[in-house]
């Protein structure tokens, strides 16, 4: 990461006043506490370090925008505790939890639905009292809370979480064999320095994996563009990318062990 940006408390106050003045003066008293809290939780730094082209002012505008978008919902959930809003949110959480539990291998039974309800209640209690940071979308925020509680509920009920087998990465025999080849070893002496290594890596990958690397690293398409081109989800493309990285890391680890 490039040089980390350090934001002072005074800078936050100054910029919030400036941005609120451009939008609506009364926003100062609303935005300032939110941004203070985010600043203390290092979210402001996260954002600015991840977006080097952005200034603190851009972050404040982002929070102001999300505040306008999500405050009514947060207000209904946390302050008014509106029955109608909670019914909708609770139903959404149960549905999401059920799908998350299914991904852990649980069957689509009434028992799983009961567990999903338990996850949704735990997550609701956190949503009820946790400060929404207004620098992300509500769904992402709620989803991570929910997923965490699903994990806890599974631990409580099953002692361990079932791992999806597709995430484990055994070293495949062909890769192991290839890793012993003198060509590979000589290439690693000049690790990462030439196109030849890239081409060599491709020889260990399936057609789909090669195609992803070609589209992403050679044609410089974005993950979302590749997903659209393939007619699949973005998550699938991210998964495949991680899979390739793990596969090649395993190859390198094998090589290091056998040197």
């Amino acid at each position: 990461m490039s040089e980390k940006m350090i934001i002072s408390r005074d800078a936050v106050v100054e910029v919030v006043h400036r941005v609120a003045g451009q939008k609506e003066g009364s926003l100062v008293s609303t935005l300032l506490p939110i941004i203070y809290l985010n600043w203390e939780k290092k979210r402001v730094e996260y954002y600015l370090n991840a977006h080097p082209q952005c200034q603190l002012e851009d972050y404040v505008f982002l929070v102001a925008g999300y505040y306008e978008q999500f405050f009514p919902k947060i207000y209904q959930l946390q302050i008014q505790r509106s029955h109608e809003s909670w019914l909708e949110t609770f139903s959404w959480l149960q549905s999401m939890a059920f799908n998350l539990l299914r991904k852990q291998g649980l069957q689509p039974t009434a028992e799983t639905q009961m567990l999903a309800q338990e996850c949704a209640i735990d997550a609701s209690l956190v949503i009820l009292r946790k400060s929404f940071p207004y620098d992300i979308v509500f769904q992402a925020w709620a989803m991570v809370i929910l997923k965490n509680h699903c994990r806890n509920v599974l631990r409580k009920n099953f002692n361990q979480i079932k791992k999806e087998t597709q995430y484990t990465m055994p070293l495949d025999e062909n890769v192991a064999e290839a890793a012993n080849s003198s060509k590979y070893l000589s290439l690693l002496e000049d690790r990462f320095a030439n196109q030849e290594l890239w081409d060599y890596f491709l020889t260990f990958l399936s057609e789909e994996e090669k195609e992803l690397l070609r589209l992403y690293y050679e044609e410089k398409k974005r993950i979302s563009e590749i997903a659209t081109q393939w007619g699949c989800s973005i998550s699938k493309v991210y998964k495949l990318h991680q899979w390739i990285i793990k596969k090649l890391q395993n190859l390198m680890a094998y090589d290091n062990r056998n040197k």
Binding site: R81, A120, R151
Partner: protein, 244 residues
């Protein structure tokens, strides 16, 4: 070699140290990455350091992917349906603290008092969790901050959001810190009136003046002031008073 290939090779064999992310901060990072992805941001390109952190922590990566998969399935209307209609039992909402008691001290002065009974505090955190937060903040995946009171105060046609949060003290291990945040949420806006907040819990009692920005922390609380000698229960209710 172009920069895209360089970034690929850097994922394979990171030359620079990964960003330092405390376990307690991972929640912040993960929800942030998920939000960015939902907004169409390519996190491999735009957040290579965070992405590298995800690659290094397989369980975190899985968590990210599973959340993303379910949110994408929702967008595409391909979620698996619940076998039965969802529960509409919202009784859990009543587990949260009640609104404050309000007392008018003079025509211009009001006193709001929130009380968390020992039973409510157990319910809010789980007693084990409160002890644990002082020992190992990383057990809280959502981060190190816990809302103890989240409420509204209505005063002279104005509405104020009041938040009291607890976190481990950063300087003294075993102590906890409470911070208060007050914001004017009246639609027409406006600043904060002069006000002071008092936190009373066990033998701890401190009063602070609320600054114009609405945010201030109380001096740290030592656990022995609020827990019994064996540290297995609280000694008293928690009382938070706001005087305007």
């Amino acid at each position: 070699m172009n920069r895209f290939l360089q970034s690929f090779f850097s994922f394979l064999n990171p030359q620079q140290p990964l960003i330092q992310v405390d376990e307690g901060e991972e929640f912040e990072m993960l929800s942030f990455l998920l939000s960015e992805t939902l907004n169409g941001v390519d996190i491999i390109q735009e957040h290579p350091d965070f992405y590298q952190h995800l690659l290094a922590d397989e369980s975190l990566h899985d968590l990210f992917i599973e959340c993303l998969e379910v949110l994408e399935a929702e967008k595409e209307n391909s979620l698996l349906p619940l076998p039965f209609p969802p529960s509409e039992d919202l009784r859990f909402l009543s587990q949260m603290p009640m609104p404050p008691s309000v007392e008018q001290l003079s025509p211009q002065n009001w006193r709001f008092e929130w009380r968390q009974t020992v039973a409510q505090l157990h319910n809010l955190f789980g007693l084990d969790a409160v002890v644990a937060v002082t020992r190992d903040a990383s057990v809280f995946f959502e981060g190190n901050w816990h809302s103890v009171i989240r409420s509204n105060a209505y005063f002279m046609d104005k509405s104020y959001a009041v938040l009291l949060e607890m976190s481990p003290d950063t300087e003294v291990e075993g102590d906890v810190q409470f911070c208060v945040l007050i914001a004017n949420i009246t639609p027409e806006g406006g600043g904060l009136p002069a006000c002071q907040a008092t936190l009373h819990w066990g033998s701890y009692r401190q009063t602070v003046n609320i600054p114009p920005n609405g945010r201030i922390c109380f001096p740290p609380v030592a656990l022995q002031m609020v827990m019994n000698p064996t540290k297995d229960d609280f000694v008293d209710d928690l009382q938070f008073i706001l005087e305007i």
